[in-house]
């Protein structure tokens, strides 16, 4: 399945140093979502790499929250190793429906390199992103809408 195209790349090296043939074992992103109810809040623990291949799994998780009327959602990213724009787009697609239903999506415990991706696009202006899960829980508990979601 993995072969090299015959056309040489631009800025080709001298003939004495030909392109190396790279044969990597195919790698597939591992990603999973675990649900954990915490009082009136539903925590989604993300594990692995969230990219264009795996984004549909996060989408399904958010949709399940909506279907369950669980609108107070905390996304715990402590074990999220990677995120691309496809993953960010899922957050953008679902946060307003959650808010319109009286809840929110709050994000917590992100690793620095993942937080940096959120930050690059200005997402901290749009989402509550907290260092610790307890802060996100406290923000929900302090909100005037005390709707139970689980």
């Amino acid at each position: 399945m993995f072969t090299d195209l015959e056309a040489p790349p631009p800025e080709a090296p001298p003939a004495s140093r030909p392109p190396l043939v790279t044969r990597l074992q195919p790698a597939v992103s591992n990603f999973s979502v675990t649900f954990r109810p915490t009082g009136t809040v539903r925590v989604l623990e993300l594990n692995g790499e969230l990219d264009a291949h795996t984004a549909s799994e996060l989408e399904a998780a958010f949709q399940r929250c909506l279907d369950d009327d669980a609108h107070r959602v905390i996304v715990h990213g402590g074990n999220l190793q990677y995120i691309s724009s496809a993953g960010l787009g899922v957050f953008m697609a679902y946060v307003e429906p959650m808010r319109e239903a009286g809840g929110d999506i709050k994000i917590t415990e992100l690793q620095e390199r993942v937080y940096d991706v959120f930050d690059l696009l200005g997402f901290p202006m749009l989402f509550d992103i907290t260092p610790a899960e307890a802060e996100a829980v406290a923000q929900f508990e302090a909100s005037p809408n005390g709707m139970s979601t689980d």
Binding site: D4, A7, P13, P26, S85, L121
Partner: protein, 143 residues
């Protein structure tokens, strides 16, 4: 160590993006990029490949995306080539974030990321093969 060119080709499916990220990490680190720079470049290349698959091949899984790396004048260069329909960056119009939020917009963030993550971006859309070239300067280690 002499600069070397490396190439990997993946089928036009998103499930192989992880292979490309691993490829970029391996040779970016070998070229002397910092861990942070490698992570930034991985993401930029991931986005460019995802664009090629989504906009170039439009769901066709029988296409190929070629990713090549080499070092040129102190810069680590990644080229992404494909034979699908060219993705014209001139047609890309970024939406204000607040508008994107209100519209539940889930796409259109990849190009923003690419421009923030690499030092140079260029497109060659002429001919049957489209090419995106992403470059990241290799910072010499502190003395």
């Amino acid at each position: 160590m002499p600069a070397r060119h490396h190439t990997v080709v993946i089928p036009s499916t998103m499930r192989h993006l992880a292979t490309v990220r691993r490829f970029v990490r391996q040779y970016g680190a070998e070229a002397g990029l910092t861990d942070r720079a490698v992570s930034e470049l991985q993401l930029a290349v991931d986005e460019a490949c995802a664009n090629a698959i989504e906009h170039g091949y439009k769901g066709r899984e029988d296409g190929r995306v070629q990713v090549g790396t080499h070092t040129h004048n102190g810069t680590f260069v990644v080229t992404i080539r494909h034979d699908g329909e060219p993705f014209d960056p001139g047609r890309y119009k970024p939406t204000a974030l607040q508008d994107a939020l209100q519209n539940h917009q889930r796409r259109g963030y990849g190009m923003r990321l690419i421009h923030r993550l690499v030092d140079e971006v260029s497109f060659d859309l002429d001919g049957p093969t489209s090419q995106v070239r992403l470059a990241k300067r290799v910072t010499p280690p502190m003395a």
